[in-house]
Symmetry: C2
Subunit: 200 residues, 2 copies
């Protein structure tokens, strides 16, 4: 039974659905293979859509990449209070049976390093948002540098574990990994000259 929302008009020709299908397929494929190794024909194929429509609706492969990144970038951020952000992101990265989150823009970014305008802008934006949230966790003067270091660690772990499948990290128990990281990060975020408050 098809959904019946505020649009009683026919479903057979539905540009919104076509756009959405293209964005979904693009997010998946860019995450799996990176920008350069993903073809517009691949995307249209997985979306079940004629590839000419990709250009009609998005203009170019670049623009589609940017649109796909923008759509899903903020998910983890939105509903996480700052203190839990790091833990939640770690859990998401580590917990999944290695597939649940593969279409998150982080993986597309990791596999597309080298790409310009669109990707760069998005990476900056995404980075700024996560870094800002992380910076709120410390009151040190160079909070944002430290936050960048945390972000770098998260990206590096995702890269080594999920993209490159490095062992033993890839098979390590999520709780162990998270424990190590959180313990070290707690030290990282301490003010150099004060005692730290009770963790978490």
């Amino acid at each position: 039974m098809p959904e019946h929302e505020a649009e009683p008009r026919s479903r057979r020709r539905d540009s919104a659905a076509t756009r959405a299908a293209l964005l979904d397929a693009a997010a998946e494929l860019f995450g799996e293979r990176g920008f350069d190794r993903t073809t517009v024909r691949d995307i249209a194929g997985r979306a079940g859509v004629n590839q000419a429509l990709l250009f009609r609706y998005f203009g170019s492969k670049d623009a589609l990449f940017a649109a796909a990144m923008a759509r899903r970038g903020r998910e983890l951020l939105d509903d996480s209070p700052a203190e839990q952000l790091l833990g939640r992101v770690l859990r998401q990265m580590l917990d999944n049976e290695s597939l649940k989150l593969i279409d998150h823009p982080m993986y597309a970014v990791l596999r597309s390093s080298g790409h310009d305008h669109a990707a760069t802008a998005i990476r900056q934006e995404l980075g700024e948002e996560y870094a800002s949230a992380l910076a709120a966790l410390t009151d040190a003067e160079d909070a944002r540098v430290r936050a960048d270091l945390v972000l770098a660690w998260l990206l590096g772990i995702a890269l080594l574990r999920s993209v490159h499948g490095k062992e033993p990290l890839a098979s390590a128990k999520p709780d162990d990994v998270a424990g190590h990281v959180l313990r070290a990060v707690r030290v990282l975020l301490e003010r150099a000259d004060t005692e730290l408050p009770p963790a978490e």
Copy 2:
């Protein structure tokens, strides 16, 4: 005045020099642009060599990539005792006026995380070697997992700072960054079953 080594034979036709020029150019370009966005014509052009020779001497673009990675990947590893390895890698990554080390394989790997070249094998080898060296720094049971986490951090920092130029990390003072990282890593590599100093 050309160099005169153990090879008094002519310089005008010198396959060894041609190979070396190709490897140098390849290391630079792969580091700057990644695998997919580097052309065999680019490489031959920068090396000042006919591109057909690239295939005569290395067989394929994949194989050239692997050869270039293998040649320079072990430099830091070979002449650094384990205790100094982390510090040296950090210094090299952070110190350079952002260009000195761009042809190190690490950057080629970071910009080429797409997939499945022949270079996968050599990349894994190098990863193992660095991880092993780092694992020697702790006697914890899960030393290798912790070492992977350190390696992940190094990769993430290089990615965020040098590949993407994320601020404020990219402009942070090397000593500050190194200090933060070393302090946190010291905690990471401590044995989990020993008591921690007053913190927590």
